[in-house]
Symmetry: C2
Subunit: 478 residues, 2 copies
């Protein structure tokens, strides 16, 4: 067999800390090790996007654009990769195309080399403009499949989507398994089918939650995947990703040898082990492998969110009923992947269906919008009866949702005139209007202050640590 | 490809808790779940031997034979498996053959079906009598290779050993990777070579320390291994083993499908998750993957033991020197695998070599005995200069060490006359003369009391938890 080097995307600066310490790692803890990270020889370093933008503005009171510029300077020889939610960018609504184009261009200008673009519904119409913008900026576009399992999510479905992404100009294709649902042999089938259908390289991303991801990467590589996502041991495993050092060691000496230096990786991991200790207050108590998602289809983060919702209602004893209701609601909605925002949409409706004692007696606005096509096309057929009950004869959006939006950039500029010092500032405000405005105001006033980190001594106080960790990020965009 | 069902050995009752909570799980925490464990359909349940016998007598004040009988009654449909250190049985010296034969026969009588037999030196002469005794008792003999890496431990070495074990009548062959040194593709080479040389089924055992073990099992199975060792998620990963549920899920639907019910396994794991909480005081702070063993060759448990030794001498700053000295001492001794007792022998001598400022200025008795052949044959050539310096012209044992021992059982019986109520009691005394006698005396006096478990509230006391965990078991027989 010919040598077929595996390429590594290192996740410690983004998905690793997003998955394990609620995206709280500060830029100051990243920069001192960038020299070594830059020298390691990764294919790319995922370091921006996902929930990092939100966490910077909301909790760390850091300018996310400034973080990107600092990382760019500190990583002169590396590809910086970001995760982008297509037409949602890094916010929580659909943006008009002018905002999408501006955001991608500014991300490129400030340092992003590789853009991984996905859509929660796998509706490629929601990905097209951002992919075009990446190519227009001369950067690397990676189209991502949001992997899930359902009667409609079969191999032909994913192959058809991959072909569309390739046709849109994507340079690589990512299989994004945000919940850890891929199994090694299902990966082989999927990768082989994709290799037969498309010519661009394949990149695998699979969370370690269910203890399968290292095997998934290995079998994916044997089947023809070229790049794998891993995280250095200090922020690996559990809700995060398989360990970089382990995968490098696994392939060492084989035809797939990554060529990376295990000793250097261990040094970098040792640095991050110390860093992680500072953030103990954000640790979730979830170090053990949990395969329940494979039988329940319900992501771990969604479970903790639901139990909080039920607790507030004094109805924690209805958890099993909610668990049984979730797959039914998901089916009624045409089997969306359970990832932000669809996981919240499905989960909240399931809770209502159980607590009101009658299915769809009360219907959330999000479910109504979903049924009206405002998030994009459902993967499968929606339940027409439920739809009729929920939205009656209201007109359903069949075009791309953003086609209904008009350009906003000028309006946004006007709204933050005086506060915004740059287009980047305008885009920060666009992502999070309230939060972004407050951020810009505090910056102007010189009063930006990050949420405090509890000192190590506080760790053994009777209150314990786990309850400090917020849940809101657990169901978010991996 | 023909269906090739993978068989699972479940480790939660032995290696799982030995690796993660210092072997402290009590029989009372095992019995309530045995009904479900018995129904799960494992190839075997490892439940006895290793360090459990010692822990029962030393800490839990349980009669280990009584535990075995209780498990036997509670697991009527399961094969109970034990780990046996060949001529060392479950103690810390070589026993004469009559004691070995009696111990194996009594283990079989009380409920063991499968005996995994190994020797720290891989000297099959130290395994022969116990394997013969297993066959004489009509039970399943599994000969184990202690896997390590060194210039002498190449594939032909392990193949030759495996052929000897097969010729001795072993029913299966185990590859026992106690430190997590196997990589997936080295496993393929080893398993393929073994399959070509022997006819008995191959069983893989690989600790998860370095994050490679699930891949090791998967590639081992693809190369022809028939049985794999895994542990339910409540006691899996880290210093323990890959997760049972994950491997079952990994193979589900493939040609290797285990046929086990994931839902039932999740139920059993949920039970053990609660059990584990009771033993928090014995948790080691080692949940993260650590690949350093792959570069340093020094097992994690050995590192913590060494740092304790150095701390006592006020010489923690010499750690790096000791790390560099260990491979040199190991080479001088002909590359023994680093496992009890050789890990202590090598480690302690390395510390002396560094602290005295002169290599072998002081030589431990254990090193002298090692060089005199009293542990068996060294895998490679020993350094003749070191040997001459350490033991001069003393006569070297070239026969099997136990050939120099005379039968002891009658003498042992006499020594504990009155206290021992059965041959099992005599064997308990034979394993641990002081501890065993005390145990039998306390049992007679009705004063047996297990070491106390700290209440959950104590967990958050300022003293923290990790330091309660003793180190002595970390370098012990996995
Ligand atoms: Co992710
Ligand atoms: Co073991």
């Amino acid at each position: 067999m010919a040598k077929k080097k595996v390429h590594i995307t290192e996740l410690v600066l983004r998905d690793g800390h997003q998955s394990l310490i609620a995206t709280r790692m500060r830029t100051d803890d990243m920069l001192p090790i960038c020299g070594k990270l830059d020298a390691a020889g990764f294919w790319s370093l995922e370091a921006w996007g996902g929930a990092t933008f939100d966490a910077c503005v909301r909790f760390l009171k850091e300018d996310p654009w400034e973080r990107l510029r600092k990382l760019r300077r500190a990583l002169p020889n590396s590809r910086i990769q970001m995760l982008l939610r297509g037409q949602n960018l890094l916010g929580y609504r659909h943006y008009p195309d002018d905002v999408v184009r501006a955001f991608v261009q500014k991300s490129a200008d400030n340092g992003v080399d590789v853009f991984r673009v996905f859509d929660a519904m796998n509706d490629v119409r929601n990905m097209r403009v951002s992919i075009e913008a990446v190519k227009a900026a001369g950067k690397h576009a990676e189209g991502a499949i949001s992997y899930t399992t359902s009667p409609v999510h079969d191999i032909p479905y994913f192959v058809a989507m991959a072909k569309e992404l390739e046709a849109m100009g994507c340079d690589t294709l990512a299989i994004k398994d945000m919940a850890g649902l891929l199994t090694p042999y299902s990966t082989v089938e999927l990768v082989k089918a994709l290799k037969a259908a498309i010519n661009i390289p394949i990149h695998t991303h699979s969370h370690a939650t269910s203890g399968l991801a290292s095997m998934v990467h290995m079998k994916g590589v044997e089947a023809g995947a070229s790049m794998i996502d891993t995280c250095l041991s200090a922020f690996s495993e559990g809700a995060s990703h398989p360990t970089t050092e382990s995968l490098v060691a696994a392939f060492q000496g084989s035809d797939y040898d990554t060529g990376l230096d295990l000793g250097l990786l261990q040094e970098i991991a040792a640095y991050f082990r110390e860093v992680r200790k500072k953030y103990w207050q954000f640790e979730m108590d979830s170090h053990q492998v949990d395969t329940r998602i494979l039988t329940s289809q319900i992501p771990g983060g969604m479970i903790s969110n639901l139990s909080n919702q039920l607790k507030e209602q004094g109805a924690l004893n209805r958890m099993d009923d909610v668990f049984a209701e979730i797959p039914r609601v998901r089916e009624d909605l045409g089997f969306p992947p359970l990832v932000t925002p669809t996981s919240q949409i499905v989960g909240t409706q399931a809770v209502l269906n159980v607590l009101t004692g009658e299915r769809y007696k009360s219907v959330t606005n999000e479910v109504k919008n979903y049924l009206l096509g405002r998030y994009g096309a459902a993967p499968g057929k929606v339940n027409e009866e439920v739809k009729k009950h929920a939205v009656g004869n209201q007109e359903v959006v069949t075009c791309r949702p953003a086609d209904l939006l008009t350009d906003e950039l000028d309006k946004l500029r006007t709204e933050v005139e005086g506060l915004a010092k740059s287009d980047e500032d305008v885009l920060t405000y666009a992502m999070f209007p309230d939060l972004g405005r407050t951020f810009l105001q505090e910056r102007a006033a010189g009063s930006l202050a990050p949420e405090p980190l509890l000192p190590p001594e506080a760790k053994n106080a009777p209150a314990g640590g786990a309850q400090f960790a917020p849940n809101e990020f657990k169901v978010t965009l991996h």
